[in-house]
């Protein structure tokens, strides 16, 4: 039967993916920047956090800072890295931006591997201290960790919600919808996109990286690979690119489905099958959603219709009226191959 401990673990991981998916949604869904390098930013965030908070006498020494300082420091470091990457990458569009971010993420990962004195190389960093770990029992701590992760996820949710309803969010989506027109209206595309990318970096370092390292207990470079990037993307696409709740739903669904499979007890010689299930399921889900529900489970239109209603004023027109357009904005954007 499913133990509570197991559920707590799955929930924690689902929340971490949900955080990452929301940030990806911000830059890719609303910002139109198809970033294939988010695992790199999360990796920088995780490593910065651990190195800032590790004790100075650990095997791989750190600065021994308290965890809130570590989070803030990691946030600033990752934001800086994002700016360094973004400055050249944002000059390109479409598949070129995609590949540049992909390349940068791989460069970051390799740099982590190479600088083994700083980062522990391929062996990584182990024995990561978690906040308040010692104040709780071994059995009880996972609940604390879940609570902490949930708080962080909530914070990211609130931040993204604020962005969605703000003038900045509107300008960002305008730049995505019709870049020349946004420029003709005085919007600085470069500033909008750069600030978005830097914000994603900041939050990856502030929240996602630390939360992931608390969850894993040890981090190695191979964790932050293309596999991770694509998993987060899969969660986002399945949940609904451009919707507020979509990334959370998609990430949760993906995690739940792939982790619950682990419950199936198999003989050791079939261990391969179990580790194969996660990617198999992610792949199948992704292909299926794109085939039959390319908008994802929740749509961007839905999110903004609800927001409109809440902002007061007149009642928003029913979404059904868009039927003449054929497809909704998200599918249109997926078709449009925009940057």
């Amino acid at each position: 039967m499913i133990s509570l401990d197991f559920l707590v673990t799955v929930a924690t991981l689902a929340l971490i993916y949900a955080m990452a998916a929301q940030l990806l949604n911000l830059e890719a869904g609303w910002g139109g920047m198809w970033d294939l390098g988010i695992a790199g930013l999360i990796g920088v965030g995780a490593y910065s956090y651990v190195l800032l908070t590790s004790p100075t006498d650990a095997f791989v020494p750190g600065l021994g800072l308290a965890f809130p300082l570590g989070m803030i420091g990691a946030g600033l470091i990752t934001a800086t890295v994002a700016v360094v990457i973004g400055w050249p990458a944002l000059r390109l569009r479409g598949e070129y931006f995609l590949i540049t971010t992909f390349a940068f993420a791989e460069i970051l990962r390799q740099l982590i591997v190479i600088n083994k004195d700083l980062t522990g190389g391929t062996f990584g960093l182990t024995g990561i201290a978690r906040p308040w770990e010692l104040q709780f029992t071994f059995e009880g701590y996972p609940y604390v960790r879940l609570g902490l992760t949930a708080l962080l996820t909530l914070a990211i949710w609130l931040v993204c919600s604020r962005f969605a309803s703000s003038a900045y969010g509107a300008s960002l989506r305008a730049a995505r919808d019709n870049e020349p027109l946004a420029m003709a209206m005085g919007k600085s595309i470069k500033t909008l996109r750069m600030s978005t990318y830097a914000t994603v970096g900041l939050l990856c370092g502030l929240a996602v990286g630390p939360a992931y390292s608390w969850f894993l207990g040890a981090i190695v470079p191979s964790v932050f690979s293309a596999n991770l990037t694509f998993t987060i993307w899969a969660g986002l696409v399945i949940g609904g690119l451009g919707s507020k709740l979509g990334p959370i739903l998609g990430a949760a669904l993906l995690t739940a489905v792939s982790e619950l499979v682990r419950l199936v007890e198999v003989a050791p010689e079939h261990a391969n099958l179990v580790s194969a299930i996660h990617p198999l399921l992610v792949g199948v889900l992704l292909i299926a959603v794109l085939r039959w529900r390319p908008d994802g489970l929740l749509s961007e239109r839905g999110t903004f219709t609800r927001l409109r209603g809440r902002q007061g004023g007149r009642h928003a027109a029913p979404v059904a009226q868009a039927s003449t357009a054929g497809t909704s904005a998200t599918a249109a954007r997926l078709e449009g191959e925009r940057a």
Binding site: Y168, N178, M185, G186, T199, A317, Q321, A322
Partner: protein, 258 residues
């Protein structure tokens, strides 16, 4: 006075071997209605793009109200008071008509994630007032009913109107209209003419390019004619209508100057 002029001096531009603009010299008053006409391929759109910052001239300068704007990116040009419309009024498809227009009214200061997070109250207030103002604008233009529709669902005439209203909401000194009459019915064009005249009367200068000569000549105070990238003639609509070279250029074109 140079503060009331858009001065285009010696502008040259080529695209892969084709000389799109040749030594174009023009002075356009920032006030009243000026038209730019010419057959297909004459370079009208290229000139428009260069003026509005969507293209950089190979040589030459663009001076707007005494300020040199040559080579400035499009968004800077727009912020300095010269705003253009686009021929196909696609707008921002994911937003309603009201939101499209409101985007012009929220200004740029709050356009950062920082402002969104830490000046939330000001941001919310600004958005609310912008939406209300947009609603007003739409109602004044007689299309208040479509405020909550999406641009893809509008008739071409309405979509064009929204395009113009939205750009106008930026309160430009000079509004560049890119083929506003294209694809419109005769009635719609009449209404459009009234609207354009109203805009000019309220102080915003207009520079319009269009293939519909009747529409354009009926509205403008000054007309410039481009042909093969060079300025062919300039003058009042009557003068241009009588100009032999202009008639020559348009011979065989659909819209005949009667």
């Amino acid at each position: 006075m140079s503060t009331d002029l858009l001065e285009i001096r010696g502008v040259n531009k080529s695209f892969g071997g084709v000389r799109a603009l040749r030594e174009v010299d023009l002075t356009i008053p920032i006030g009243g209605i000026t038209a730019l006409i010419g057959p297909n391929g004459a370079g009208k759109t290229t000139l428009f793009n260069v003026i509005s910052g969507f293209g950089v001239p190979y040589t030459g300068s663009i001076v707007f109200a005494g300020e040199d704007l040559t080579g400035l990116p499009a968004h800077q040009v727009a912020r300095r008071g010269m705003v253009r419309t686009f021929q196909t009024p696609v707008g921002f498809p994911s937003m309603t008509v009201a939101e499209n227009v409101a985007l012009a009214m929220t200004g740029h200061a709050l356009d950062t994630p920082w402002a969104a997070l830490f000046r939330g109250r000001a941001d919310r207030a600004r958005r609310r007032s912008a939406l209300a103002a947009a609603q007003e604008q739409l109602e004044r233009a007689g299309i208040g009913a479509i405020a909550d529709r999406f641009l893809a669902d509008l008739s071409p005439g309405d979509a064009k109107l929204v395009e113009i209203l939205r750009q106008l909401a930026l309160e430009p000194r000079l509004l560049l209209l890119d083929e506003p009459a294209a694809g419109m019915t005769v009635d719609q064009i009449e209404t459009l003419a009234v609207i354009v005249r109203d805009i000019a009367d309220s102080g915003t200068g207009i520079l319009v390019i269009d293939h519909n000569l009747a529409f354009v000549l009926g509205l403008a105070e000054t007309v410039h004619v481009l042909e093969a990238g060079a300025l062919l003639a300039s003058g009042t609509p009557e003068e241009i209508g009588r100009d032999a070279r202009v008639r020559q250029t348009y011979l065989g074109e659909e819209n005949h100057v009667a």
